[in-house]
């Protein structure tokens, strides 16, 4: 366990702020890709750090802090999606969140890809992001989403098919 995490566990607010600075980009990226909604992703990112602040004492240092925070983020986003039961209307265009980083041909290429990911159906998008972007195994995705491994594979196949069609247009 790093000294920063140890100090944050003991209630040092400055240490927790430093952890926020280091990890907010990663947490927000995950939230925005899983929800395809920048405003919703902001709410969830804030909630992730509130929960992390309240639960950090249960972090034992058996894994990296970033892995612990990543797991906490995925669980929170999937819990909320499960609780809401249906996709919420997007409140802000996705391009607002992508614009600052989309410079040059490389930037434009991944903006197209991010847009196509955002247009996927929710469960296909979640499965694909966890598998292809975040590097989860099928079994881990099945556990996180509460579905069978076969269903995870089906969601990923569907997502890839839709993405290829979308990018061809």
């Amino acid at each position: 366990m790093t000294d920063l995490v140890r100090r944050a566990r003991l209630g040092d607010d400055a240490a927790f702020d430093e952890l926020y600075e280091r990890h907010v980009g990663r947490v927000y990226a995950l939230c925005v890709r899983l929800t395809a909604d920048p405003a919703r992703a902001e709410e969830l990112t804030q909630d992730v750090f509130v929960r992390a602040w309240r639960k950090i004492e249960s972090f034992r240092g058996e894994s990296e802090f970033s892995s612990w925070l990543h797991r906490l983020t995925v669980n929170l986003v999937l819990d909320r999606q499960r609780a809401e039961g249906r996709a919420r209307a997007r409140t802000r265009p996705l391009d607002v969140m992508l614009a600052p980083a989309a410079s040059g041909p490389e930037g434009a290429r991944w903006v197209d890809l991010e847009r196509a990911i955002a247009r996927l159906p929710e469960r296909a998008r979640v499965a694909l992001v966890l598998y292809a972007v975040e590097g989860y195994a099928y079994r881990e995705i099945a556990e996180a989403m509460g579905i069978a491994i076969g269903s995870v594979k089906a969601h990923i196949h569907r997502a890839r098919t839709l993405l290829l069609e979308d990018l061809d247009r």
Binding site: A83, G85, M97
Partner: protein
């Protein structure tokens, strides 16, 4: 192999996770079929692009949570473990101290508003109360929806498991009701609000685990 492999087989091949029992057949087909070979290449490029997406995206605004300034985080578990009796004393104190303070304030001022309630002129306290209120509403909505999902899931659970979950839920619900009543009586005291949040969190977690029992719904 004359027939084209299935779409799933081609995708798995492009993703580098082919079914070993079909590997030779699909590989041999790809050497003869430019169309399938091109499709596999497109899947391969897509997967590479997905893996290379930026890991970090900075949000447009500062999302640092406004942490309640007056509410310290609960003490570390290690500290509690050293003295198990201390936990019971803390629990008793958590109930008795606000009650005592409330009674003293009422006796001394003759008003209904205890000293710990968010005062109209204290913006920090108001902000904190608003934050807690928002969190509570969010937990209420989440637990309502999860409860509906649990009712469906309950029908497929063994009776003994369902009874156990129900008993735990009843305990958490009683604790929520008691804490919510205390929060009303204390005019939104922040510490009681935090206790209520912790109880809702326990309920949401319990429902989530109950829904996930067995790994599939």
């Amino acid at each position: 192999m004359r027939e084209h492999p299935s779409e799933a087989e081609l995708q798995d091949h492009g993703d580098g996770t082919p079914d070993p029992s079909r590997l030779d057949a699909v590989t041999s087909h790809l050497t003869e079929c430019p169309s399938c070979r091109s499709h596999v290449d497109r899947v391969r490029v897509l997967m590479d692009d997905l893996r290379e997406l930026p890991r970090d995206i900075q949000p447009a605004r500062d999302l640092r949570p406004t942490r309640p300034a007056t509410t310290p985080r609960p003490p570390l578990r290690e500290r509690r473990r050293r003295n198990p009796d201390r936990r019971r004393w803390l629990a008793a104190a958590a109930v008795l101290v606000p009650l005592l303070a409330y009674s003293l304030v009422r006796l001394s001022s003759g008003t209904d508003r205890p000293g710990g309630a968010p005062a109209a002129g204290n913006p920090e306290a108001l902000l904190e109360g608003e934050w807690i209120g928002r969190q509570i509403r969010s937990y209420e909505a989440a637990s309502r929806d999860l409860q509906l999902a649990y009712r469906r899931r309950r029908q497929t659970l063994p009776a003994s498991t369902a009874d156990l979950v129900d008993a735990h839920l009843a305990t958490v619900d009683r604790a929520i009701a008691r804490t919510a009543a205390s929060r009303d009586a204390s005019h939104g005291d922040a510490l009681v609000g935090q206790m209520l949040l912790a109880r809702y969190e326990a309920k949401v977690e319990l429902l989530r685990q109950a829904i996930d029992i067995g790994g599939e719904r």
